[in-house]
């Protein structure tokens, strides 16, 4: 093992120990073992196998039943979980994992490397859309030379692997349960057997899921709770009322208008996080359809960027819950997020000047018209549509209002998610839209898809702008082959500088979510799917 690699492992071990101590101290302070935690979830998951889906509903409800090879700490870095250590070989083309030998499945069967190999080859790489899309093409093979060793071999160095192995991205399922069956219809999906801190007890469809403490969990002493109940409550307002009425103990999110009320109530605790099982580190992003002649001129796109008061989006739409985006990559990915970029700042006069310069003139009407705009017939009104999910209607209203002041007529078009995606990505029938692009734990997972020219096409939530830049493509390819973060950071900086200059998108606001829980409970790890692994409730 090279010295650098050894230090990576040591740091990972150190981080995992420092992460475990506060949770342990919390529990000691509360001296609370036992009890039931009631968690509100927004949707019935349908099944409880997170390895065959990226559905947020299933992952929210099921991750506590499973583990990944690795976990993630509060900063988003990889820490040991089912694997106790790892080494990186051949400059990142080979990863070798050493598994723990004290792990058993909930039915008592011993966990081995065969489970890992089977899970990836037969389940994750076939059915888990993110893992299949990101890792599928890069992987050369997985070997399990003995019960405690797993080796991932890639066709060329592959950087993001360590952040793709937690229970959200790659939950490990039992080979003896799924072998020889269709993983999508196996009965165990409704009565799961995992290795996680909680065991499955019962599932009343559409109503509740009950989990019980796993007494043989490999992290000694954990979990503290005897029972964990997930209660399906679709309406966010009702979730808050249920918390206030003492019927539930933990919420995954709190609507903006309710946050101040809960904050000022000593019965509750709150914390912000950018992690969510459905997608982490999300930025509300306006996409321009670069195939439309009206939007081809970068000065017009910059004018739109400068006419948008992003602070107003933060205040009026998010009620302050979030941050104005200062770069194309989320500030949560501290090593990849670039500082000091020339992002379009709110300057209405400059926006008007740019529009005049392009040839969009103010005449009698409040909406500007084309007078000598390249590729656009004279007299064309500067009118664009703006597609959004119904839940994002306030973004549409603000866009219409703010761009209206500089003479751009915006027509918001609310579309349900199932209609929005084919309209934007397949039919490309839009001028602009807003999408919550989640960067994920690594830019390779959630950022590359927005800019790489190979990502233009029918697959939803990819390169909505249809942005093409050979240099940016090359930089992304280079970054994906570079394992060391200190070498990847400057590459991502160059990418961000370029796209901020060319503005295929305007990055509005980063949208963390607020978890809320009863002050009687604590020990939550809001940044991971195993959020209640060390939770406790005083009764």
């Amino acid at each position: 093992m090279r010295r650098g690699q050894r230090s990576v492992v040591l740091v990972a071990l150190l981080v995992s120990v420092t992460w475990a101590i506060p949770a342990w101290l919390d529990a000691q302070e509360g001296s609370a073992r036992g009890g039931t935690l009631v968690v509100a979830i927004s949707a019935d998951p349908g099944h409880l196998n997170p390895a065959i889906t990226t559905s947020g509903a299933t992952h929210t409800a099921a991750e506590l039943l499973y583990n990944g090879l690795l976990g993630r700490d509060e900063r988003g870095d990889a820490v040991p979980d089912l694997a106790e250590s790892w080494t990186i070989e051949q400059a990142g083309a080979v990863y070798r994992f050493r598994l723990r030998n004290d792990v058993t499945w909930h039915d008592g069967t011993r966990f081995t490397s065969a489970d890992v190999k089977f899970t990836f080859e037969e389940v994750l790489l076939k059915f888990h859309a993110r893992t299949k899309a990101s890792m599928g093409g890069a992987l050369a093979g997985i070997d399990a030379p003995d019960d405690r060793t797993v080796i991932f071999r890639f066709k060329q160095p592959y950087a993001p692997l360590l952040l793709q192995l937690d229970a959200t991205e790659a939950p490990i399922v039992a080979k003896h349960i799924y072998q020889g069956s269709d993983p999508q219809t196996n009965a165990a999906n409704a009565q799961p057997i995992g290795t996680g801190p909680f065991k499955f007890t019962s599932y009343r469809k559409g109503a509740e899921i009950r989990l019980a403490r796993n007494p043989t969990y490999f992290k000694k002493g954990l979990p503290y709770l005897d029972e964990l109940m997930m209660r399906v409550i679709p309406d966010p307002g009702t979730q808050v009322l249920a918390l206030e009425n003492g019927e539930v103990d933990f919420l995954w999110g709190v609507p903006g208008p309710d946050q101040n009320r809960l904050k000022s109530d000593a019965r509750f605790r709150m914390a912000q996080t950018s992690y969510h099982p459905g997608g982490s580190n999300c930025i509300m992003t306006v996409s321009f359809n670069l195939e439309r002649p009206i939007l081809k001129d970068v000065r017009l796109r910059r004018a739109i960027g400068q006419a948008l008061d992003r602070e107003a989006f933060l205040r009026q739409v998010l009620f302050g819950e979030g941050r104005v985006a200062t770069a194309p990559i989320s500030s949560e990915l501290t090593w990849a997020h670039a500082h000091g970029l020339n992002m379009p700042s709110f300057d209405r006069a400059e926006a008007e000047r740019l529009l005049d310069a392009v040839g969009w003139k103010r005449e009698r009407d409040t909406t500007r018209v084309a007078r000598g705009v390249p590729g656009v017939p004279d007299g064309t009104r500067l009118a664009i549509d703006f597609l959004h999910f119904p839940a994002f209607s306030k973004y549409g209203e603000l866009m219409r209002q703010q761009l209206g002041t500089v003479g751009i007529d915006v027509t918001p078009r609310p579309l349900e998610p199932a209609v929005f995606a084919p309209t934007v990505f397949k039919d490309r029938n839009f001028d602009t839209n807003v999408i919550s692009y989640c960067n994920g734990p690594d830019p390779e997972i959630g950022v590359r898809r927005m800019y790489h020219s190979s990502q233009i096409g029918p697959a939803p939530f990819t390169n909505a702008a249809a942005y093409r830049n050979d240099r940016v493509d090359t930089l992304f390819d280079q970054a994906s082959r570079t394992v060391e973060r200190d070498k990847r950071s400057p590459i991502y900086r160059q990418i961000q500088e370029t796209v901020v200059q060319e503005l295929p998108y305007v990055w509005l606001v980063e949208t963390p979510t607020t978890r809320a829980w009863s002050a009687k409970c604590g020990g939550f790890k809001a940044w991971t799917g195993l959020f209640a692994e060390a939770a406790f409730c005083k009764r």
Binding site: D44, T54, T185, K205, N245, V248, A418
Partner: protein, 320 residues
């Protein structure tokens, strides 16, 4: 009522259901939106989307999909839910009891209270009590159930602490026997009350006007002249006044289900209403079709039952 008439009415159900299946299938499949996206998530690649499309037969031409579906329905097979991965019949049946309980409770509460309030208002026509009932009925009829549900949760649940705001049982207790029944009844109270409010208002107004009209007829005058006690007089008047009420109740089963969608969502009541909403959001077409079929059948059969109730209420009505 002759058995022949009843058989003829039931036979009419078959073409009606066939029509519903075809129309619902075409409408649902023609609506914009792609279930594959809901299933595969936003990170799938083109090959994965194609795999899902083939798996559920969504890559075949629509007429072929319709023929396959119709054939399966005739064999009693409503297909497999895209989202739940299980037979649709099982998915629907496990949610049915909760919705039946909610709708039956709401219907019984609104019908019985509506009759009592309507009669009371008619007997005190144009006096303060009547005015109060009429105003309350008007407000009740005009109030959207989702708003009423929020207000009920805020005031009656959070305000008094007497009622839970969500669920069908207490999440922290696993009661059995009569304590389980009591727990369910406790959780049922608010959603049933909210769902009943709209129906109560309508029934009250109908009963009031029906009884008022009946009280002015000759047979009631005769009954009073014969010295019949007032309760018996009202019973006579009510029997005639109930005909339009029965018609309306029968015809409003579909509306009640619509209300159940909203009420179940606000109160996290695990019934068909919630399932319908989530199935629309995820374009789970087999489940949607099954729900349309179920609700349509319920409306058709309720209408047959309404016809039967006519004959019972008014002996002059004969079906041949």
């Amino acid at each position: 009522m002759s058995a022949r008439y009843l058989l003829r009415r039931l036979a009419q159900v078959v073409p009606a259901v066939a029509g519903i299946v075809i129309v619902a299938f075409v409408v649902i499949h023609s609506a914009p939106g792609d279930p594959v996206l809901a299933l595969a998530g936003q990170h799938g690649d083109a090959a994965y989307y194609a795999f899902i499309r083939t798996k559920f037969g969504l890559d075949r031409p629509l007429p072929e999909q319709l023929l396959v579906y119709a054939g399966n329905v005739l064999r009693g097979d409503l297909g497999v839910s895209y989202v739940h991965g299980r037979p649709v019949v099982a998915v629907v049946l496990e949610r049915l009891p909760a919705t039946l309980l909610l709708m039956t409770s709401a219907l019984m509460a609104s019908s019985s209270a509506g009759i009592v309030l309507g009669v009371a208002a008619a007997r005190r026509a144009d006096r303060p009590a009547d005015l109060a009932v009429r105003v309350a009925a008007l407000v009740g009829y005009a109030t959207p159930s989702f708003w009423l549900a929020q207000i009920a949760a805020l005031t009656l649940a959070l305000g008094t602490g007497l009622f839970p705001v969500q669920g069908i049982t207490d999440a922290r207790q696993a009661w059995t026997g009569w304590r389980y029944a009591a727990d369910v009844a406790h959780h049922l109270a608010l959603p049933a009350l909210v769902l009943a409010a709209n129906e109560l208002a309508l029934t009250t107004r109908l009963v009031r006007s029906g009884v008022l009209e009946a009280l002015a007829t000759d047979y009631i005058r005769t009954a009073r002249a014969k010295g019949l006690p007032e309760l018996a007089v009202i019973r006579h008047a009510l029997r005639n006044a109930l005909l339009p009420v029965v018609t309306v109740i029968g015809g409003r089963i579909g509306m009640l289900f619509t209300g159940a969608v909203l009420v179940e969502t606000v109160f996290a009541w695990p019934g068909l209403g919630q399932l319908l909403l989530s199935s629309i959001q995820t374009r789970d077409m087999p489940v949607l079709l099954a729900l349309f079929l179920l609700v349509s059948l319920a409306v058709i059969l309720t209408n047959v039952m309404t016809d039967l109730a006519y004959a019972w209420l008014d002996p002059r009505i004969r079906y041949e």
